[in-house]
Amino acid sequence: MAHFDTEYQRLEASYSDSPPGEENLLMHVPEGAKSHWHHIENLDLFFQRVYNLHQKNGFTCMLLGEIFELVQLLFVIGFTVFLANCVDYDILFANKFVNHTDSSKVTLPDAFLPVDVCSARIRDNAFVIFVLTISGVFWLHRLLKFLYNVCCYWEIRSFYINALKMTMSELPYATWQEVQARIVEIQKEHQICIHKKELTELDIYHRILRFKNYMVAMVNKSLLPVRFRLPGLGESVFYTRGLKYNFELIFFWGPGSLFENEWSLKPEYKRGGNRLELADRLASRILWIGIANLLLCPVILVWQILYAFFSYTEVIKREPGSLGARCWSLYGRCYLRHFNELDHELMSRLSKGYKAASKYMNCFLSPLLTVVAKNVAFFAGSLLAVLIALTIYDEDVLAVEHVLSSITLLGVCITVCRSFIPDKHMVFCPEQLLRVILAHIHYMPDHWQGNAHRYETRDQFSQLFQYKAVFILEELISPVVTPIILIFCLRRKSLEIIDFFRNFTVEVIGVGDTCSFAQMDIRQHGHPAWMSEGKTEASIYQQAEDGKTELSLMHFAITNPQWQPSQETTHFISQLKEKVHREATGGPSDTHPLSLSESEPRSLIANVLVGPSTLNSVHFSADGSLTNHAAAGLGNGASALRSLSPISSSLQLRGSLSAAHRPSGHTSTTSKAMAGSGTDAWTVSSGSSAWEGQFTSLVLSEYASTEMSIHALYMHEFHKQQSRGELSRHTWHRQESDESSDSIPDEVRSEPNPHSRHLLRSHTFPTTVPSPCAIPTSASAIVSTARGQEGAASSHKSSSQRPFSGSTADSFSAGGRVLRSARGVPMGGWAEEGQAAPRHPDPLPEEGLEDDMPPHMHKVT
């Protein structure tokens, strides 16, 4: 076998890599599903649950809370039945004697009936059986709900832990904004939503608040029948949870509702073609649901009582006064809610306004009742004193029949009476209070301003801010009233509702059908009287009332600084921010902080900002004298927004933070520079993402609410000035809405919605036309009251204000745009005030609103 030695050789290397048969195949590495969080089916529900878990402070808290609720409910039902049926009260009250061999003492078990007697008594009582059955169903329902929730939220919990990398223990201390930022972040990795590469904050809000936004819009456009003119009671609002539940049932999720599923409106409702037919169908559905409500009335009633009992016993137990205390009504929450505002945001806003609101309501205690209450309290008090004195002398007095009970009763009586007697140190300054309230609640009908002292305003405000007792009472009569409202009021509106959903639903990619108002598009829904003049193309029907679009937009932009809106919107926001900023910085920059607020009473924003900015500077200055300036600046400047200063003092922290983070140059010693730089820091951090990561988001959100308050006040101020020029339009609207308020127009699209303009109608509107400009700001309210004191010491509000309405109006017309007018040059009616005020420096303490008011306007009661 010859062996040729040639240069040609077999190439071996290329074949040795892969096994035979698969030489040319490409090899892939599967990514696998690293997590199962990609592509979630029902994002609406998912985000809602993520939000709920966050609000409930984590899984364990939620679980424990729900378990205890279940046990509590069982206990309440069981104990009530036991007390009603199984206790022999004769033995307890010692009307009947038990024979004991060893001792004469009656023991508790003696009073219990034997088991068989007890169960027989329960079985014979049909009512008890009825209640027990419903309670049983109620409890089972809650149990099922609980079990279902545990399964669902376990998933969410692992989402938090695995995807968001947040443990349950840190969840209570994380803000929603933080959670949201992480969700936005992981979308890039996991693609929770498959439509988009990136989620925006607005998408998440839209999904969580889809139906709530619709409800807010419907209340805003006065579509829902919640206000009624009752004979004898005047106009009143009736909106309970039962009614709300029914509305949601009809519109959103009940059988045959307008929505196909959680995210899309049924296609036939999007077309205008057969709107009449659809309206008929809706009307008949409402009728049937109304009838069902009527038939189920007793069941719902017991259910409601259980619910009420369940929700409120604890509160009443803890603080007996809370029944008398007020709460924001359900209607108020809808009316005051921004578009795209989550529950916790709304609640924190309203809670901040709570104190001022209750003070405002307490201003209006009836003098007659006070006189009576004072005297009743006197007599009851003397009796009580005698009884207590006797008891202290010899405790056998307690053994006398009914002494203990009468002591208790007298005590209760005195407590009740005391709530009718106003605080001795209370000052009557409703205009100021209302302004403070406005800073937090952000919405208010136009005609309230300048009429804060009127009883009508108070009545209308009480629709938003009602007694808790009234709230519970309304809930209890709701099962009876709800079907009536559904059948007689809502049914007539079916066409309007159909039109509403057609006209105001937009499909957003990656979100589904949402309420178009919630897009917060100034061009679509802006109101020309609310700073979007020239930018809006909306017809009157499309405009959101009370500047809701604009205020919501500002609110959303401020709470979510990372959000990137469209060009136009960005422009609007930055323009507004710039205006507010200019007002803010302009004032402090060329005047001494101390004199600023006096010489510039009209520039409210400047006043507000003096507080925070000087506070800021004080915080990192070592100069003692400056502290004095700043304190004075705060005291004077922020007096209008008294309740803001606790918040703004939180800015101190922010200020110090910013001082720490800012490069340098903050230790300037002149008050001017400091005020300027302080405000700078304040505004710079406001909207830009440059501050992300430097502040904890908690600080950010605290601070955002203050900023929003300022913006809201500014916008209201601006609106007031603008609407003065448009009074004709308002009155025209007013007339129209009066004429047609009782008849439902058939053709909504052809005419502007007549119910829309004045959500809260006042009978006094025509007479109060000039007054909005009479008292432009609370600062001027102080002015007028101060003058009232200096001049004729008239205690009557309206008369003391009247002389000045002329001069203020003059100054307005002279200054043109008041908020922008030249600073430091007092004009018109203010000139005197600029000098007058320093005569009463009144260094104001920080605590307590009433202390802060000028001390000369005591309401004589």
Partner: protein, 218 residues
């Protein structure tokens, strides 16, 4: 909601329904199929080949490409002919909709069954017209051919977009993403449903399910 949906609309003659539907469904499936996966030890896999086949239509001037898999063709043809029968039973000018839904399965915890979550739905709305004479039919033949051509380009455009697709699965998960029952080709999990005349309202079962869910949720 969390799923893309594309709608195609065609107007055809009764005898063209079957071919038109096959053309569109096969076109979509062609782009949503891959070769069989062969998994290797170290978490890698190789992909088999997919053959294609040109199909000429009898009643339309049109040729489309489909995956050369008889099994897949059988499944699709069966669904389409059912749809055609249902459509012809309703009367002369029927309206119908056939949808091709791609989904993936998700394993759930014990009390719940596995979820099928759609990620892309193609709805083809069909309008059946009656034509009077042969000349019109001839015109229709060409017209429909052109239209289908447009639709195919449309489909390709949509598929070309860089959008969400389920991630390539590991061996254990391959059944959650791909339909592995076929021998020669492996399309994404799909479901074909049809509906004759768009009926109003949701079905009773979904309403009941929603009611139940709603009472249970917070």
């Amino acid at each position: 909601m969390n799923c893309r949906s594309e709608v195609l609309e065609v107007t055809v003659e009764a005898r063209q329904v079957e071919e038109a539907m096959l053309a569109l469904l096969h076109t979509i499936l062609l782009h949503r199929s891959s070769g069989k996966f062969h998994y290797k030890k170290e978490g890698t896999y190789s992909i088999g080949t997919v053959g294609t086949l040109d199909i000429d239509c009898d009643f339309i001037d049109f040729t489309f490409v489909r995956v050369s898999s008889e099994e897949l063709d059988r499944v699709i043809s069966k669904a389409v002919s059912e749809f055609k029968d249902a459509l012809s039973n309703t009367g002369s000018d029927g309206m119908g909709q056939i949808s091709l839904e791609f989904y993936q399965k998700k394993k759930s915890r014990w009390p719940f069954s596995d979820e099928c979550i759609p990620w892309e739905v193609w709805s083809i709305k069909v309008n059946v017209v009656n034509l009077a004479n042969e000349q019109e039919r001839q015109i229709c033949r060409e017209k429909v051919g052109e239209k289908l051509g447009e639709k195919v380009i449309n489909v390709v455009e949509v598929i070309n977009r860089h959008e969400y697709l389920p991630k390539m699965p590991t061996q254990s998960e391959v059944d959650n993403v791909f339909d592995t029952s076929l021998k020669d080709v492996q399309p994404y999990l799909y479901k074909i449903t049809y509906q004759i005349t768009d009926c109003l309202g949701t079905s009773v079962s979904t309403t009941v399910r929603r009611l139940l869910k709603d009472t249970l949720s917070l």
